[in-house]
Symmetry: C2
Subunit: 800 residues, 2 copies
């Protein structure tokens, strides 16, 4: 738990690098953009609390970031495990840096580079040319990564703008040193199919690499780059198929790499800028010229630091322990990346939705800047319980970017996407998970998009031919979603067919998702005056009832004949349930919790069943932990709770709906303390952080705000739980919301004292765990009095 | 495929190491033991064809061996992945050697050491102190491993006797060099609980380490060692909890390590012997004194080489390609290890079956040598289709060792074991898999054991309170085996109970296993004149019929009420089927294939279904490939065939029983070419080699001999398939069998010409694919004429 207490690890950094934290402390917040009117405390520097190494013992490709801006296109960082969709990228307990690569995104990777000295080994592959390193000689901050490469005695520093990686290498004296570009390696989810590198001058290279298609993103993706050096190199050469080759100025083909060489004197610094584009080398060059025309490395570190501070500072917390604060800002930092920008500075972007790759153009503002950004993103599966609430409230401009770019993709390819990757559809996970995300944005007053187009696109997804026709990664057919069955008979049978279309073809799980998503779309229909649609989707939203297995008291699996699957096994994983079991999914009725309680026999029965699930879950740390051991995995998945993945993130909040808010307060604290505590590489998110979803959930639990129905109601509500801090200030974006801040104050709060005794909203007593979105964004103050014994009579008034 | 053609890789070894292959070539076969009367061709050196690196891209802890004798207690080799039940040990594509450790066995590991130079880093953990290496500076042979440690400029060579690891390190000039012993690291399946090291003199250490209990072997295991050095060291020191500590002569506790230090001159050689015992340090010292009293390192390499040649030379093959020969001897080599010796030279062994650890004594012969060896071994689950045939025929003395040591464990702990590990029961996998192994030995005339005791112990396992009462890894209860249900109603319901006892509690799969094992025991009962038992077990052996789902034409899952599980899904993995699906298990009636064909509607229907399974399987390489990707794994497991694991190893041979021997010839060749071909680190066994099981299967397929019922019939038969070589000579052990050799000769054999046209046994026409065990061991010659078109009328005569 105290792996990284305070600033201990700074003490081991060589003296010369200590200048950087000082630089950062001295830097001001003067460099502002869109959010220039948001007022924050001046001395407050949350970025210094972030622990980028959290959970890196078990990184996924896109999990770790160092030299990257919020949602940055470039995510420049060392890779210590180069292959794998899972467990790759920067993994803490590996001892070799293979290379520094520039893209760690959903199904995207590219442009690995490494400085070396002495005899060239690049053609032997990174198992040979990679360098040993020690965490003792490493410093990792948001926006900055410094590491000493033991094998080459090179100190490497990395920072970035949004689209340009910036490298500063301090070389030893060496007759010959090199910087290599490897286009023959596997890189996270993809292999390198072929590459092209051209020497533009003795201080510039340009080229591209084609990253292979994957199971999840079948079409190859071309990644363009330019690399500029602050001093000329002496030679340009390359390799192919593991053999060194001489080249004049172009190196091209499969299994190639290229490198530049030069002599270095002792402690000689060399700088390199690598800019990226998915469109062309010219666009990469434009990105570099626009974002990083100078060579002042320290300035970029400071700007990146300030950038992160502006973003993270939207939520200010006071109280709690230092470790809790560090972990909190790390959670928040996680929610602001993973889903990476893919368009260029001038709004050009890659459209891969058709048969041919195409360059698209995002509309521009009066200064020629794109009105919104396009992203590579995992799906919004589970976002109703995480990003919907965090982003929409605290970063509404991000929400608007995502909504607009998804509508642009609808124009391009005919579908509002699930998990767009580099302009491709990936169809990650199931259902129309984008619906509640967009509906909730609309309901909360985020309206800078074409709502009629949005409704049309969302509606399409809820019918045959839309996303509800597709299972996970079902790229070529529209069969696995089962929407026809859902419409005709009110549930999706499992198994659906002898043929498997894609993955996660799990009828009952899909039935629950669709029901909720239908409810969300019904609200939008109502809001837009489409009464007929409202009624139709409202009817469909009751379909969850058709898989309620009264006899057992849980949701269950039905076949084509309507028969319940025998034997009933509430803990059986998969086989009808998407990454979960019936115990997880039974609670998946976020839009109609009171009716679910009725099905279970009333609030008391509901509370007993839910509480027993938590009691059981506690014995297993509330997660179905990931493991490489087949036998252990099967056992661990037999849990009633899983706070390591999306399917039941809302469970602890349901007691607010069933007359027992104190149990929401109790269980959210238990989950926080068990799963979302600690700041070491071996702590983490108990499973799969998934591009900000679990980070955002952790943030919400810790500030004690949530929304079970994803905020998609006509009048969105927030549910109050048990904030762990004494004071929480959310700085609202004045471009969207009238209030300056929303403040939560607690008194008597402590690790043992987490039950709400009484509450006040803007000085008036509050006896309900629900607050309206309007109250929040108009700038309210919520005061909570906490104690160590529950006040079981608090919070029982109906929602406003 | 041609990754390791010929001797290419020898060319990159530094000149000084080339002397070793020469040494080996010059060595004679004069050093003989038990098998002294077996005659082999003198010039034939199969050990030189073995490729130890095969499949090491995905090693399991006990998969790889270099410095190890056949079934050796010591398996000294570098570990490049130190943690994990799976994917650990020596993995080819890792670039760091953490240490050389001495034990790579079923649930056992221990005594990691590493030589280093310069500043000591042992206390920082092997991520820091481990050394980079290159396969270019490495030589790996059975019995020998040489590798250059880049970080320390040390050339390390390893060899061994059965119980002693022998190290030769060539150091650079260094003011201070070290050899460290790490008792704080995780090591494959286990962590290190605590250690003890004592400086006995300035050239000897002794001590032990307690390796933690595991899921599969719950009790900790104490591993004793002594280490002797050929030259004195200058200092002895250690570390604890990551900090260096000074010691006088004893270092003890949790999270400790120890090291010796000394100056070295350029190219200074230092030797070290590390002997192991599970009983005591005195026993470790006795093992060393008995097996390795001298310091002649080269002599041990030569002896190990000769030892392997004697073992591997039992089967001589001619013809085929060089790669096929190399792969064949690698397969055979795999079948002669993994299941490691655990007793000391004087027959003392660790008995962990009771509440207290106890030292046992194996009976001795007139020279004070143990009459048999005790082993640490994965279960015999699947051995009826692999080791039963290979060992019993070619290495009957190994069979007898295993039978006797299992009976000794029956004396110790009351059960003939499943997967004994260091004197512990581990209960790996399901059923009484030892029964067919022992019955088959008895039927084949391997009778140097107490057969009445064997029968009593096996019989116990077939009733409540025996192994048929235990699921996998069910350590403390006798509930998960379901034998009561099997006896009462003729099948084991699934799910058995709401409680899970252990793992692999898969009723229908267990029902099939038990039926076959009952049949095997019935044969033994008959052979011993126990008519009543014969009839009872024969009746029980028909229980497979009770899960035959006539409506679907496959075996299927029944619940407590006798209902078939809905929906029927023949490809659903697990959930009733142990590491397989109904498509794999339907064929699991090895003792009654003709009746299975009748159930399916006759031979033609049987052949069609089986052939379609293979046609489908071919599109998926005949395996359900292992992958770390959850979604891919689920898809890949939906295969009708899996030649990467045990549950359906017999499928390709079943056509011999159904009037289509040509399809056995065809499909065995396809499987060989797809799954058991190639010799590179990335080739392998398509899943889990499992301590010789898949290696033995590959050997059997390639020599074209098999036994579907495991050879447990009163008169065991061998089934003939399609040998890939021109001539195969099995040198029979004269202590067991009257014939000198069994020879298979083919004419017209080629990659395209693999169908048997006609056959002769000892000069007389053979029109059946079955040969009796008596014929084989009396010294027969089988001649096969091969062609590229099938002779569909050959082999249709009934079995003799």
């Amino acid at each position: 738990m105290d792996f990284y207490q305070s600033n201990v690890r700074f003490s081991t950094i060589p003296i010369k690098f200590l200048v950087l934290p000082l630089l950062l402390l001295l830097s001001s917040c003067s460099d502002t953009e869109k959010d220039s009117n948001i007022t924050m405390s001046q001395a407050f520097s949350p970025v210094d609390l972030v622990e980028p190494l959290l959970g890196t013992a078990d990184s996924r490709w896109f999990y770790f970031s160092s030299a990257s801006r919020p949602f940055g296109m470039v995510n420049l960082s060392p890779d210590t495990q180069k292959e794998g969709t899972w467990r790759s990228g920067y993994r803490y307990h590996k001892n070799t840096i293979h290379f520094f690569s520039h893209i760690h995104a959903w199904q995207l990777s590219g442009i690995p580079v490494l400085p070396t000295t002495g005899e060239f080994k690049g053609h032997l592959g990174s198992d040979q040319y990679g360098s040993r390193f020690s965490h003792d000689n490493e410093m990792v901050r948001p926006g900055f990564h410094q590491v000493y490469l033991d094998d080459y005695e090179i100190n490497a520093e990395l920072t970035s703008t949004t689209r340009v990686g910036f490298h500063r290498y301090t070389f030893p004296e060496s007759e010959v040193s090199h910087i290599l570009f490897d286009f023959s390696t596997i890189l996270g989810p993809s292999g390198s199919e072929r590459g092209y590198v051209k020497m533009v001058s003795d201080s510039e290279l340009e080229g591209y690499v084609i990253m292979e298609g994957t199971l999840r993103r079948p079409k190859p993706v071309k990644v363009f780059f330019i690399a500029q050096f602050d001093k000329p190199f002496e030679t340009f050469a390359g390799w192919q198929d593991g053999k060194l080759v001489e080249v004049s100025d172009v190196m091209e083909g499969a299994a190639i790499g290229a490198y530049v060489s030069f002599p270095t004197s002792a402690n000689e610094e060399r700088l390199m800028k690598v800019a990226i584009s998915y469109v062309s080398t010219d666009q990469a060059r434009l990105n570099q010229q626009t974002e990083l025309a100078h060579w002042n490395f320290d300035q970029v570190i400071v700007e990146s630091h300030n950038d992160w501070n502006r973003w993270l500072g939207r939520i200010e917390v006071e109280g709690g322990t230092e470790v809790e604060q560090r972990r909190f800002y790390t959670d928040l930092w996680k929610a602001l990346q993973g889903r990476r920008i893919v368009n260029d500075v001038n709004g050009k972007y890659l459209d891969m939705t058709g048969d041919e790759r195409r360059t698209g153009q995002i509309p521009l503002d009066g200064h020629g800047r794109p009105l919104f950004n396009h992203h590579s993103s995992d799906s919004f599966w589970g976002a109703q319980w995480s990003l919907n609430t965090l982003w929409h409230l605290v970063y509404p401009e991000v929400t608007e970017d995502f909504v607009n770019s998804m509508l642009m993709m609808y124009d391009d390819g005919g579908l509002i996407p699930r998990g767009p990757s580099g302009g491709n559809y990936t169809y990650v996970m199931t259902g129309a998970s984008t619906t509640p995300f967009i509906v909730s944005a609309w309901m909360k007053g985020i309206r800078g998009f074409d709502v009629e187009k949005a409704y049309e696109g969302l509606r399409k997804n809820h019918f045959p031919g839309g996303l509800m026709s597709k299972a996970g990664y079902e790229h070529d057919t529209f069969k696995g979603g089962g929407i026809e069955y859902y419409m005709e008979r009110g549930y999706i049978p499992h198994p659906l067919s002898d043929t498997r279309y894609g993955f996660h073809q799990d009828g009952p799980g899909q039935t629950l998702e669709y029901s909720y998503q239908d409810w969300a779309l019904a609200q939008m229909a109502k809001s837009l005056g489409k009464q007929e649609d409202y009624e139709m989707f409202s009817d469909r939203s009751q379909n969850y009832r058709n898989i309620w297995y009264e006899e057992e008291g849980w949701m269950w699996v039905r076949d084509h004949d309507g028969q319940w699957r025998e034997p009933f096994d509430v803990l059986e994983y998969g086989n009808g349930w998407i990454e979960g079991n019936a115990a997880h999914y039974t609670w998946w009725v976020p839009h109609d919790v009171p009716s679910l309680a009725d099905l279970m026999g009333g609030e008391q029965a509901f509370n007993e069943k839910l509480n027993q699930s938590f009691e059981y879950g506690r014995e297993h740390d509330f997660v179905t932990q990931r493991t490489e051991d087949n036998e252990l995995r099967d056992i661990r998945r037999r849990n009633y709770i899983n706070y390591g993945n999306q399917p039941c993130m809302q469970m602890a909040f349901l007691f607010n709906y069933s007359g027992a808010p104190w149990l929401t307060q109790y269980w959210t604290r238990q989950v926080i303390n068990t799963e979302y505590a600690g700041i070491s590489p071996d702590d983490g998110y108990g499973g799969d952080e998934d591009q900000g979803l679990m980070g955002a959930l952790a943030v919400l639990m810790k500030i004690g705000l949530f929304s079970t129905n994803g905020g998609s109601a006509i009048e969105p509500l927030y549910e109050v739980a048990s904030p762990i801090f004494d004071r929480i200030t959310i700085h609202l974006n004045p471009g969207y919301y009238p209030g300056e801040t929303f403040v939560i104050e607690t008194t008597g709060n402590s690790p043992e004292s987490y039950y709400i005794q009484s509450a006040e909203l803007n000085g008036r007593p509050l006896d309900s765990p629900f607050i309206s979105h309007d109250h929040v964004v108009n700038g309210s103050v919520l005061k909570l009095v906490m104690d160590s014994t529950p006040n079981k009579s608090w919070g029982l008034s109906p929602s406003p």
